[in-house]
C-alpha cells in the first residue's frame, strides 16, 4: 500500500448514514385547503413555505410515485443565479440566498457546497455575451467575475486551455457563490420540515382528473379516490401539460427527455462546476466522487425517461474536449428525466384561467437550483391568490402580451 493510500480516506466516508424514516406516509383525507400535485422538490418546498410563511397546514402533497423520484432524483444539482435578465436574476438570486441559510432553516444537512460555477466562452461572441452577463449580474447584486483562460485554469486546473484545440477556452464567467447540493437530502429536508408542520405526504397517488365547476377548481380525482380541495397547485414538471389538460388549460410546453450520467467514483479532481454551451456539457464532481455530467435535451418530444445514446456520445466528446484527463474514466450510469420546456426557456409560475388552480411548470432543464425560491414565491401565490413580485413576470399571459423573459442562450442556459 502506498503512503498516499494509507493517509487518504476513501471518498464519501464522512457522509451521513442513510436516514431513518423522516415523515409518516399519510392516508388521503376527503378534503384539504390546498392540494399540491407533484411531490418533487418544487411541490415539497411549496408545501413547506405554505405552512411556514403563511400558516396554511391543511395541505396534501400528492405524488404518483415516491417523493422526489422524478426529476428531483435525476438532475445534476447545479445551483447558480447568474442569469442575464432582471426577472430571472430576481427569482434565482432569491433562491440562492435561501440556499445559503437552508440547512439551518430546515434543520437538515443538504451538503450545500458553494464551490463556484464557471461558464466557459469559446468564441468572441461568447466572450462579449459573457462579459455583458457579468455586468448585468453585478447590477442585480449577483456575484460575477470575468476570468481569463489562465484564471480559469487556476480555479479548475484540469480544464484544457491550450489554444490549439477546436474550441479553445477564451475565458469564462465565474460565480463563486454558486455550487451544488445533495438533491435527495434537499427533498427529504423539505418533506420532513413540511410534515413536521402538519402537511400530508401521500405517495403512490396519481392525479387522474381535476374537478372544475363554474370555472373554479374544487378537487382532484386520484388513483386513491377523489379529494376535495380549496385550491390546487400544480407542480408536475414534465407531466404539467397532461395534468393541466384535465382542467382544459393548455400550456406552451413541450416535454423532452433530458439525460445525465455519472462516472465511477474518483479521487477529487474537479473542485468546481464547469459549464460550456459551445462545447455542450456541464460537469461537477459529487461529494462521493462521481463526475456528474449533463447536456442538452433529446430533440423529439417524449414522456419516456430515457434518451438516445448519440446524445450521450456527444456530451462525452464535449467533456473530453474540455477535460482530457477524463479519457480513462468509465461511465457508470446514464439516465433520463422528462423536462417541460417553454418557448422562452423561462418558467411559468402563477395563475391559470381556472379559479383557484395555480401552475408552476416550464423550468425545463434548470429547475433544481430554484427549488427554495420558487417554493417561497409559489406558496405566496397560492396563499394570497396573487403572484409574488418575483414570479409575477413569469405569468402564462406573457405569451399573449409578448413580454417574454428570453433566456435562450442569454443566461448560459444549457438546453
Amino acid at each position: 500500500m502506498s503512503p498516499r493510500a494509507r493517509t487518504t480516506r476513501p471518498p464519501g466516508v464522512d457522509l451521513p448514514d442513510h436516514p431513518d424514516r423522516l415523515w409518516s406516509p399519510a392516508e388521503p383525507k376527503r378534503a384539504y385547503d390546498v392540494v399540491i400535485v407533484g411531490g418533487g422538490g418544487h411541490g415539497l418546498a411549496t408545501a413547506y413555505y405554505l405552512a411556514k410563511n403563511h400558516g396554511i397546514t391543511d395541505v396534501a402533497v400528492l405524488e404518483r410515485g415516491w417523493l422526489a423520484g422524478g426529476n428531483m432524483a435525476r438532475n445534476t444539482t447545479i445551483i447558480r443565479s447568474n442569469y442575464l435578465w432582471d426577472e430571472s436574476a430576481g427569482i434565482y438570486e432569491h433562491a440562492l440566498k435561501l440556499w445559503e441559510g437552508l440547512e439551518e432553516d430546515l434543520g437538515y444537512p443538504l451538503l450545500f457546497s458553494q464551490r463556484g460555477v464557471l461558464n466557459l466562452a469559446h468564441s468572441l461572441q461568447d466572450v462579449r455575451d459573457s462579459v455583458r452577463r457579468v455586468n448585468a449580474n453585478r447590477l442585480n447584486g449577483v456575484d460575477a467575475e470575468w476570468l481569463t483562460p489562465e484564471q480559469v485554469k487556476e480555479v479548475c486546473p484540469i480544464v484544457d486551455i491550450s489554444p490549439d484545440v477546436r474550441y479553445p477556452v477564451l475565458g469564462g464567467t465565474y460565480q463563486p457563490r454558486a455550487g451544488i447540493a445533495k438533491h435527495d437530502y434537499v427533498a427529504w429536508g423539505f418533506a420532513k420540515a413540511a410534515a413536521d408542520l402538519g402537511v400530508d405526504m401521500i405517495e403512490h397517488c396519481e392525479v387522474t382528473g381535476l374537478d372544475v365547476r363554474d370555472g373554479r377548481v374544487t378537487g382532484v380525482q386520484t388513483t386513491r379516490g377523489p379529494i376535495a380541495a380549496g385550491k390546487v397547485a400544480l407542480a408536475a414538471a414534465g407531466h404539467s401539460s397532461v395534468v393541466a389538460g384535465y382542467a382544459g388549460v393548455s400550456l406552451p410546453l413541450q416535454s423532452h427527455p433530458l439525460q445525465a450520467l455519472v462516472s465511477e467514483l474518483l479521487e477529487p479532481v474537479h473542485p468546481t462546476v464547469v459549464m460550456s454551451n459551445a462545447v455542450h456539457v456541464y460537469v461537477s464532481q459529487a461529494h462521493k466522487g462521481e463526475l456528474v455530467m449533463g447536456a442538452g435535451i433529446d430533440a423529439a418530444n417524449s414522456y419516456r425517461q430515457r434518451g438516445a445514446f448519440h446524445v450521450i456520445e456527444r456530451q462525452m466528446s464535449a467533456a473530453l474536449e474540455l477535460f482530457p484527463v477524463f479519457a480513462r474514466a468509465h461511465v457508470l450510469r446514464t439516465w433520463g428525466g422528462v423536462v417541460d420546456v417553454t418557448p422562452d426557456a423561462s418558467p411559468i409560475v402563477g395563475l391559470t384561467p381556472v379559479e383557484d388552480l395555480y401552475v408552476n411548470c416550464g423550468w425545463g432543464t434548470g429547475g433544481f437550483k430554484a427549488t427554495p425560491g420558487v417554493g417561497w414565491c409559489y406558496a405566496h401565490t397560492v396563499a394570497t391568490g396573487e403572484p409574488h413580485p418575483l414570479n409575477a413576470p413569469f405569468s402564462l399571459e406573457r405569451f399573449t402580451t409578448g413580454k417574454l423573459v428570453d433566456e435562450h442562450g442569454a443566461a448560459a442556459v444549457a438546453h
Binding site: 407531466h239 406552451p252 416535454s255 423529439a300 418530444n301 417524449s302 405569451f399 402580451t401
Partner: protein, 92 residues
C-alpha cells in the same frame, strides 16, 4: 435511439434525422386579422400529448426530405410515417 422508417429510404437511425415538432400546423390565412390571443396560440402553443403525436421529421443525413410520423410519446413506438400533404392516418 429511435429507428425511424423514412418513407423514401427505409428504417434509419435517429441520428440521421432532424426533428420538426408538431405536424399539420398551418400558417394563419390572414395573420393580421388574428387577436393577440389567437396569434400567441399559433406562435407558442403546440400539442404536448402523452400518447399519439403527429410530428415532422427531416432525413437530413439521407434523402433530405421532410415527412410526417405518428409516434406514441409514452412508448416512442412509431405507428405510421407518411408524406407531407397526406392526411394524418387514423391509428386504431
Amino acid at each position: 435511439m429511435l429507428l425511424i422508417p423514412c418513407p423514401w429510404c427505409g428504417p434509419r437511425d435517429e441520428a440521421e434525422f432532424h426533428y420538426g415538432g408538431q405536424a399539420h400546423v398551418a400558417y394563419p390565412e390572414d395573420p393580421a386579422a388574428l387577436s393577440d390571443e389567437e396569434w400567441a396560440r399559433y406562435l407558442f402553443f403546440r400539442d404536448n400529448p402523452k400518447g399519439l403525436f403527429a410530428e415532422r421529421w427531416s432525413h437530413t443525413a439521407g434523402c433530405r426530405r421532410w415527412f410526417n410520423a405518428v409516434r406514441d410519446t409514452a412508448t416512442n413506438e412509431i405507428h405510421a410515417v407518411y408524406r407531407v400533404g397526406e392526411p394524418r392516418p387514423v391509428i386504431a
